[in-house]
Symmetry: C2
Subunit: 320 residues, 2 copies
């Protein structure tokens, strides 16, 4: 049973002190390793771990080929300015190989989890000599996994999996009692810059969660280009989250007066407090039509664009 610390009850300085001690005592004189995605959770854990362990924490950014345009460079650059060196590991080949022929959303997550923890991380832990892995799991991840709504890739104990047995290393999850707003407070006090908090949430399986059906390099490149358009046009929308989703269905379209059986991109933009309930953002049709036109213009093969108008529930935030 995990005891929640609400944002109101959170004594940030005391929390940081306690977690620094906890990390120190778990790692002892050994090395620890953590994977930074650039999200608020893993960024906060990186700074917390760095404060506890200094250069005994090895922080890696795993380039799985499923990231957004320029994402690795941005994250590494930001942490460089914070004095935290981040090593980029190119694991694209391994992830795409693991995802080949996988269409079921749950199996996609499983393929990414297995590749991440067992193959890529297993190898990195061995190479680094680390005995401990720091992770940014938060309470909402636990809730959703237990409820069966979505399997988060970073929740093991709740699923009865012992990472020591299964993967060969211990896992420390210093943020597991917090929800997103608590994590933001801790991250801010630790020195994370404002730009990082302004980043919208992004799923663990990254762009693989934004592709319905088969995940290939070509399909990821398609949804990556659409994501660039959507994030550029909606960054000032004030919305909770927004995304582009590549469908597997093909629809009839026209190019140069001829029929062109093409791709469809679905755009979702959400209003939400905590992701438990959400409704579509009431964007203007000027923005919606401009977005559709730019996606059709910039993303090869796309002939049709839709906008989600359902709420959560019955929808979920992500489609996959």
């Amino acid at each position: 049973m995990i005891t929640e610390i609400t944002a109101e009850a959170l004594d940030t300085d005391a929390f940081i002190k306690e977690k620094v001690l906890e990390i120190k005592s778990a790692v002892k004189n050994d090395l620890a390793i953590n994977a930074l995605s650039g999200g608020v959770d893993s960024s906060t854990v990186t700074l917390l771990g760095h404060r506890a362990l200094g250069d005994r924490l090895k922080t890696v950014f795993i380039q799985n080929g499923l990231m957004r345009e320029g994402e690795a460079e941005q994250v590494v650059g930001l942490f460089k300015t914070l004095g935290v060196p981040v090593k980029v590991i190119d694991a694209r080949r391994e992830f795409f190989a693991a995802l080949e022929g996988v269409e079921d959303p749950e199996e996609k997550r499983e393929a990414i989890t297995q590749t991440f923890y067992k193959d890529v991380f297993g190898r990195l832990v061995k190479e680094s000599g680390a005995t401990c892995l720091l992770q940014g799991t938060i309470l909402t991840d636990v809730d959703e996994t237990v409820a069966g709504i979505k399997r988060q890739h970073n929740v093991f104990a709740q699923l009865g999996i012992d990472p020591q047995d299964t993967f060969g290393y211990a896992i420390v999850e210093p943020l597991i009692q917090l929800r997103k707003n608590g994590v933001r407070t801790v991250g801010r006090v630790l020195g994370l810059p404002t730009e990082l908090f302004e980043r919208i949430p992004f799923p663990g399986p990254a762009l693989a969660a934004r592709v319905i059906g088969a995940v290939t390099e070509a399909r990821i490149e398609t949804v990556r280009k659409a994501t660039t358009v959507v994030e550029r046009l909606l960054k000032d929308s004030g919305a909770f989250q927004y995304m582009a989703i590549l469908h597997q269905d093909r629809v009839t379209g026209m190019r140069d007066g001829q029929r062109d059986f093409g791709l469809q991109i679905e755009v979702r933009c959400w209003e939400s407090i905590d992701a438990r309930k959400a409704s579509p953002t009431r964007l203007s049709f000027d923005v919606l039509e401009k977005m559709a036109a730019e996606i059709v213009r910039d993303v090869p093969g796309v002939v049709s664009v839709t906008y989600n108008i359902a709420s959560k529930p019955s929808s979920t935030i992500e489609a996959v």
Copy 2:
């Protein structure tokens, strides 16, 4: 080469007289048959043929199982008030058998065409003793078929198909020089009621064109229910056309707090003058969200609803 008669150049009374003579001279003392779908084109042809031939024109409504809720009853009832008897032919079994396993849009149209003309109509023509088939082909159908944008099911000569050889009967197409607005004028003068002109355009392959992927009775029933909601909520929108499309892709949703991997309906609502160019109707989010909520409520299995925001081109009006 077909000479266009524009709505401006149309002398309606002279046109009707000429076409009545043309039909009489084609049919001579034999019987003719025509299939009424309830659209403006086939309704106008029915009245024109009835004026030329009286009860020597046998008008049938083919129930292919792909029609909207209550459509057969409505159309037959309307023509009864106009003094034109219409016979309903139940051919559902044949159409669904022909569509089994067919996913490609072009093959769907082909399966429907073949079933309609060769199987069902071939049989009806033989049974009726008719030597001639009246058809509501208009000039836009010809243009689109020749351009390769969409194969209309009622254009043969342009495709080099001789219906006499292929199907065993002659085809008379009295409206082939007109476009939609010309047909409306003729229909109105012949006595078609206003309610018929207020019906939005509906494709030849009916709800089979509103289902991406396999056409089964269950999937048609799903899109039929969604169509009922969309038509009810948008009937006063003043839009050129609106529709519900059932996708084959499944998306993650929630029901009773549990994950439910469900169906998605795409709604399209178009502003257009002549269907050659079109843009999405700028519906209010009050209407869009109400529509999504009612579709999720009324259509079993649906968890997600989108609204088309692309224009034609690059989109087409229909998705299939």
